[in-house]
């Protein structure tokens, strides 16, 4: 009786300690940042932590990139996650709390899931499990995993998929419980978790998904069926898979349709052997030297003076094998997967191993793992933690309790020391490379927030050109403190105005642009801004945004043309129009009205040009020499011209449309749909639409009478007018083009090096002089249909959950 009570008391005590550790882990991230501070930069940015509502509306609803020239890309996988964040943000009204809560979730989720997983796996070691060693092994494995570089090393500038650090062990644990118990509640929770955190289960960002789940699923199948010799719930798994596809249809199907679009980069990466070699194998060959076995044995943060403290886990594993006299098949299975993942994440193990690795890149899609040392690190850390926990158990059951305590304390102290940079949050406060002590933890400048609000409320459909201009697709936004956000442009992702912030956002013009700056050819720059539909220049004058604090990175290319702040001010002054906003160091100018081209315009001239001739191989500087007083020009490659117009016309230097140009009034319904009221049509004309050319942009001539659109902005003596724009995601007219016939594709062609144009003849409008045109990105339809499937599946899924509760199988 006494011993039974004592056992229960000890169990309660252990659970209390687990809860206490979770509470500490939950609180910890709130000390990493001070209230009001934000950390949002990086390649995929986390602007959603600052304003999830705007980020959702701008970025997650439509298959169009809100940045640059608007390439087609399906990013709807963000929807459920952003809805949850929007809700939490609405409750707390603080980006700081949202950031800290998300980090808390990562820590607590990682620790608890790993702890539970290891405890569950240890049950296979013997019929009777020693409670204290099992508890200690689970705790330490969780502790090891949570503070490992795989979890903490990527927390600054975390990618969208960084939630994988806790989702991986959590889903693995739930899946293990499901496979062992066959209880559907575990399957239901897995599906719910995958739905809320759908960015981690999207085909849009496949490496984290495919590097982890296939291996872990295989491990679990072998563990349950071969090691434990239990049956597998195949039917339930199949139902789960169907439900998974159903509730995730809203992002899976758009991406799949995108993958099979021969013009998309996904198609090229997945199916092109040449690209597979270039993007995959060649990249691997170049980066191979960065894979090191040693870095995957001693998991150390990039802090040199404490790496000596990382020896305990590998030592415990080897001693565990030496002490383990019985043939623990589960241990052997774990170590086998550990060694496989160690090979995958280090690559450089014997010449034969390297050749084998190279051969893997001939498998379609394997090129996604070209950054192998990064892509496999999470699955490696997962198996490492599992193996450490299991080996620790083997060691703890064979040594005296007092030595066990010493070992446990030794590990806790050493692991805390080796990961202190993460535990203490210093890792987030790293200095930007090459900067003068600028960090990424910033306080938003209220002046900047006002500038953003100003841009957001502009009623027109003009784009924004950001200065200073970066090397990549970043924008540098300085904070009130000695810090800056460097990541995707908030102008694009938070205001809904398309912005050009860096070299990669103005393809095919970046080299021409830099050259024109060097030549001080400001007229040509203004013409380029017109072609890019840039109506505003957003100039951040704050010295913290440019060379005084960032002498090289991320401006090394721009600096070749604009070496300092004075030169930048001179450039802006030479190309700007009227100032429309000024607050502190944040200025918004209009561009020169004489050169501005609205988003949709009727070309007065067609200028055929030869396709080759400069750096880009596409003669991206075709617009430089044009002296036409009217900017409504459409530049067309001579090859393309021949497909639409007669050979004779294309041989001329200019194809002119004079006299009978129609009057257009256009309205943006949403970023993938525009309505254009055309009147006074008497002859064929070319309509230019300044979004990146894609064959899925379709133009429909409506049979209905043209809607009378109210007029806002007006250009070219009223021949082009902008109406009041809307942002309607779904209404009764969303599918109005389904029964319409689009203009034949041979009348759709690329102009201005990137934009769409249609050659519209009176036959297309059945001779009408006034009618309505609808321009629509039809790939969005796939999303709408898929969303329908997801909503139906979600209803079934929720009913299934209610049924489980009603049947008391919960």
């Amino acid at each position: 009786m006494y011993s039974n009570n004592s056992y229960i008391q000890k169990e309660i005590m252990r659970k209390v300690i687990v809860v206490l550790v979770c509470a500490i882990l939950f609180i910890l991230p709130f000390f990493w940042l001070a209230p009001g501070e934000l950390e949002m930069g990086g390649d995929s940015n986390r602007l959603f932590l600052y304003d999830p509502g705007s980020y959702l509306n701008v970025n997650a609803l439509y298959s169009i990139d809100p940045d640059g020239v608007g390439k087609v890309r399906p990013d709807q996988f963000l929807l459920p996650f952003l809805f949850v964040l929007k809700f939490v943000h609405r409750v707390f009204q603080s980006g700081y709390i949202l950031t800290s809560l998300l980090n808390s979730l990562k820590l607590v989720g990682s620790f608890l899931s790993m702890y539970l997983f290891v405890r569950e796996i240890l049950k296979s070691y013997s019929q009777k499990i020693a409670p204290f060693p099992a508890y200690a092994a689970g705790m330490l494995a969780g502790f090891f995993y949570t503070f490992s570089p795989g979890v903490g090393g990527n927390i600054p500038s975390a990618l969208l998929t960084h939630n994988q650090v806790f989702l991986n062990p959590l889903v693995s644990y739930l899946l293990l419980r499901f496979l062992l118990s066959h209880q559907e509640k575990y399957l239901w929770v897995i599906l719910l978790v995958t739905f809320v955190f759908s960015p981690n289960f999207s085909l849009k960002a496949p490496p984290p998904l495919f590097a982890f789940y296939p291996l872990v699923f295989l491990f679990l199948l072998l563990y349950v069926s071969v090691i434990l010799r239990k049956s597998l719930p195949w039917k339930k798994l199949f139902v789960g898979l169907l439900l998974f596809i159903g509730i995730h249809a809203f992002h899976i199907f758009p991406v799949v349709s995108h993958i099979f679009d021969a013009t998309s980069q996904y198609y090229v990466r997945a199916f092109s052997t040449a690209a597979g070699k270039n993007v995959g194998l060649d990249y691997f060959n170049a980066a191979r030297g960065l894979g090191k076995v040693i870095n995957n044995i001693f998991l150390s943060y990039a802090q040199n003076h404490v790496r000596w403290a990382t020896f305990v886990p590998p030592l415990v594993i080897i001693i565990g094998f030496i002490l383990n006299k019985k043939k623990a098949r589960s241990l052997l299975l774990i170590v086998s997967f550990f060694l496989i993942t160690l090979f995958l994440s280090s690559a450089n193990i014997t010449d034969i191993g390297i050749e084998f690795y190279r051969m893997l890149f001939y498998i379609p899609g394997f090129s996604m793992f070209r950054v192998f040392y990064g892509q496999w690190q999470w699955v490696h850390t997962f198996f490492y933690a599992m193996l450490f926990g299991y080996s620790l158990y083997v060691v703890l059951i064979q040594i005296r309790r007092r030595y066990a305590y010493v070992l446990i304390m030794l590990f806790v102290v050493l692991h805390t020391i080796s990961s202190w940079t993460f535990v203490g949050g210093q890792i987030l406060r790293g200095v930007h490379p090459g900067s003068k002590n600028m960090t990424s933890i910033m306080r938003m400048n209220p002046d900047y927030e006002q500038a953003l609000a100003f841009i957001k409320t502009r009623p027109d459909d003009g784009n924004v050109f950001n200065f200073p201009f970066t090397d990549f697709f970043y924008q540098v936004v300085p904070g009130q403190n000695q810090a800056a956000y460097i990541g995707l442009s908030p102008t694009s992702y938070l205001t809904g105005k398309r912005a050009f912030s860096g070299y990669q956002t103005i393809y095919p013009f970046p080299e021409s642009f830099l050259k024109l700056i060097r030549e001080k050819n400001y007229v040509a720059i203004k013409r380029l801004f017109g072609l890019l539909n840039s109506k505003y220049i957003f100039y951040i004058k704050d010295p913290k945004a440019f060379t005084q604090y960032y002498p090289t990175w991320p401006y090394s290319l721009f600096l070749s043309s604009v070496p300092n702040s004075e030169a930048l001010s001179e450039l802006v002054d030479s190309i700007r129009g009227e100032k429309v906003f000024e607050k502190g160091d944040y200025l918004v100018y209009e561009t020169d009205k004489e050169y501005y081209l609205p988003h949709i315009y009727v070309a007065t001239n067609m200028l055929p040009y030869e396709p080759t001739g400069d750096w880009y191989g596409k003669n991206a500087s075709f617009f430089v020499e044009n002296n036409s007083p009217d900017p409504r020009v459409a530049y067309v490659e001579r090859d393309t011209c021949g497909k639409v117009f007669s050979e004779q016309e294309c041989l001329q230097n200019t194809i002119k449309y004079t006299g009978d140009l129609p009057v257009i009034t256009y309205k943006r319904v949403n970023p993938i749909k525009y309505k254009v009221e055309v009147s006074a049509v008497r002859s064929p004309f070319v309509l230019v639409f300044s979004d990146k050319f894609h064959s899925d942009w379709k133009l429909y001539v409506s049979k209905k009478e043209a809607e009378e659109l109210n007029v806002g902005e007006s250009y070219f003596n009223g021949s082009i007018r902008e109406s009041t724009h809307e942002d309607i995601f779904l209404n009764g007219q969303t599918f109005e083009t389904l029964d319409m016939q689009s203009i034949p594709e041979n009348q759709h062609f690329m102009v201005n090096g990137y934009a769409n144009a249609w050659y519209i003849t009176p036959t297309d409008s059945l001779g009408n002089q006034r009618y309505e045109i609808i321009i629509e990105m039809v790939q969005q339809r796939v999303f709408y249909y898929s969303l329908g499937i997801s909503i139906v599946s979600l209803c079934i899924f929720l009913l299934y959950g209610i049924k489980l509760i009603k049947n008391r199988t919960w």
């Binding site: 076995v293 001693f298 094998f321 043939k327 060694l339 450089n348 014997t350 010449d351």
Partner: protein
């Protein structure tokens, strides 16, 4: 007298070796040290040559997986000592420091130990 002493010492050595069969793996350890410290570039010929010699000794003296894991422990200690005394910058550039080659040896012996354990 001297001859008797040599025979006595020789027989003591044989008794020691037969009691501590891991002793037979000393040449393998020396070969690995030679591979790590005497050569700058890794070679599969050397690696698999040494491994085949190791397999032969394992077979000849019927050594079990525990011996391989004990051998791994020695390699681990060596790796760790090299690791803390190597310039940390070497771990994040394409160059291959000698500690990396020791770590590869450790990896290979862990693989061998695990395969042996599966078969035992």
């Amino acid at each position: 007298m001297i001859k008797r002493a040599i025979v006595h010492r020789g027989s003591k050595g044989i008794v020691f070796a037969s009691k501590n069969r891991l002793f037979y793996l000393t040449p393998v350890l020396l070969l690995i040290l030679g591979d790590v410290f005497l050569f700058k570039v890794s070679s599969d010929v050397r690696i698999f040559g040494i491994l085949f010699f190791f397999f032969y000794l394992m077979k000849r003296f019927t050594l079990h997986s525990s011996a391989t894991f004990l051998f791994s422990l020695i390699l681990f200690i060596l790796t760790y000592i090299q690791y803390i005394f190597t310039d940390p910058g070497a771990f994040h550039v394409p160059l291959v420091p000698s500690v990396e080659r020791t770590a590869v040896w450790l990896y290979l012996f862990l693989v061998i130990g695990v395969i042996q354990k599966w078969r035992e």
